[in-house]
Amino acid sequence: MPRRLIAPLAALALVALFPMSGATFYVELTTKIMIMAIFALSLDLLVGWTGLVSFGHAAFFGVGAYALALLSPRAEAAGLWSSLGIAILAAAACALVVGIFVLRTRGIYFIMVTLAFAQMFYFVFHDTDVGGGSDGRYVNVKPDATLFGFTPFDLDKPYQVYYLVLAVLVLVFAFLQMVLRSPFGRALQGIRANEQRMRALGFPVTAYKLAAFTLAGALAGLAGYLLAAQSGFVNPEILSWHQSGNVLLMVILGGAGTPFGPIVGAFALTMLHEFFSSITRHWQLFLGGAIVLIVLFMPGGLGHLARRIRRNLFGGARDG
């Protein structure tokens, strides 16, 4: 077995066995972290692999979450498979439309414009009655996973949700690895490295970027759907710019453009948050301070730090 797979597989085994501990609070927390990891993976397709720093990714996360809330009748369960499909399609459609606008810009502009568009989504849900205004909306009955008379899992049971989310995380990870190794994914990485050259080589660069933006939006919608299904509640904070900043932080902290970086970032940031908020009410001060110090003294995030340590320990062994 290649050496670089040992750590990830060990981590996966640990996460898979974790619910045996019976600590329901931590099982639910870990479920939330894994949902954020899916969200972060989807953003990393843009930030790390295509070189598009989006500060508005929460918009599509929120659309996925709101899709479930709006599709759920007040006192009945929505069908999981149909509502999931609609949620992903809705998020993808929004990302496609937003992408057409934002991809006309680049660099600093792109950061600002994505942020502004996400804010527009925020105001739609915050100011109008579409999704219950600023109070949000409850998903009173969890969606029903019945397929052809067979019910594979029950979303009311936290442990089953845990394994469902874990399975989705593994699938999304594998899917993105596949995408990144495909000619399409290689082209995206080419765009990140040198957009002009890719254009000169005859690649329809804007169409590739738009496809990546749409795909990332769809996956963010999937993550948002899972969040709404787990927590049973949505409000506009789901698509606030704090959420966009938070997930961007996870990606950068873990190391943008590394396979496991976003997942590590999701765990690291949530754990930092839990740690600081357990010792002080003013945890933001320490989190902010930690972020500033990380940028100043540790460029490249935790992923690159891990790589540097590994290189020192194993004498030049590199991971892909």
């Binding site: 500060f55 600002m112 414009v113 105001f123 109008t128 989190l287 100043l296």
Partner: protein, 286 residues
């Protein structure tokens, strides 16, 4: 008719205040190539300084003078300690660091002043209202805000177009390396521009405090609108920022009157339209 006039004055006042914040933001973008998410925090800090200093000294005018001095010092310090290390880094790290700064500033605000909404009293000199037509009146202080902003905008015009420092700023915006090679102390120019931007944003916050009151999160609201201003006006263009601020002031104010539910969205729709028409902004420099 008078109603429309009042809204027009409101739009003007809001737009001009936005300009104070956005002009600093666009200068910092254009000249130093830095995206500063914490710029809205300077507006928040200004407003809170107006609140605390005016209740300590008993005078808003004294508070403003003190506040401007303090914010210049803050700007010089931040540039020296943090931003000077960011010039050669990529945008991602700039976003990350300035996001961290927002968290720090918000938490410090909560530690020092708390999370309550506070009002700031209008200086008694400008406390009255003037009559507009037969039935309507308009608060004098809002007119004062607009007038002060116009004076500052004129001052910036003179500074940028007519002084040696302004020449260096303009030159630095178009070609940083060349200006450095010609013997200008670019780092010093950067530091001054950054401090100017901080002071402008903080001053806008101080001016706005009596009208909008001071509350947590006020900085971020302004920040995002200022991003829209910069996108519409074109990065690095102060006049673009002025035009875009006034445009947004109009759209937002009349949006709130005409279609209250969608007023939050109107500004962004305007931005989307401008992006389709001129992706580089209205006044993008070549």
């Amino acid at each position: 008719m008078e109603f429309a006039l009042i809204q027009l004055l409101n739009a003007l006042q809001y737009g001009l205040l936005l300009f104070l914040v956005a002009s600093g933001l666009t200068l910092i973008f254009g000249i130093m190539g830095i995206i500063n998410l914490a710029h809205g925090s300077f507006y928040m800090i200004g407003a809170y300084m107006a609140f605390t200093l005016s209740s300590l000294t008993g005078s808003l005018a004294v508070a403003m003078v003190l506040g401007v001095v303090l914010s210049v010092v803050l700007g010089l310090f931040l540039e020296w300690a943090l931003f000077a290390h960011l010039y050669r880094r990529d945008h991602l790290e700039q976003v990350l660091l300035t996001y961290g700064l927002i968290l720090i500033f918000e938490e410090l605000r909560s530690l020092i002043v708390g999370n309550d909404v506070h009002g700031v009293t209008v200086p008694p000199m400008f406390g009255g209202s003037i009559a507009l037509g037969d039935t309507m009146t308009y608060p004098v202080y809002r007119l004062v805000i607009s007038a002060v902003c116009v004076v500052i905008a004129l001052g910036m015009y003179l500074l940028i177009q007519k002084t040696r420092l302004g020449m260096m700023i303009r030159a630095g915006a178009s070609n940083r390396e060349m200006v450095g090679v010609l013997g200008v102390n670019v780092n010093l120019v950067f530091r001054l521009v950054f401090a100017l931007g901080v002071a402008l944003a903080a001053f806008a916050g101080m001016l706005a405090a009596p009208v909008s009151s001071v509350y947590p999160g006020m900085g971020q609201q302004v920040l995002i609108i200022c991003f829209v201003v910069v996108v519409i006006g074109g990065i690095g263009s102060v006049w673009g920022a002025l035009a875009a601020s006034l445009l947004i002031g109009l759209v937002d104010t009349f949006g709130k009157v005409l279609v209250p539910e969608y007023a939050g969205v109107a500004v962004y729709v305007l931005m989307a339209a401008i992006l389709l028409w001129r992706p580089e902004g209205l006044f993008r420099r070549a």
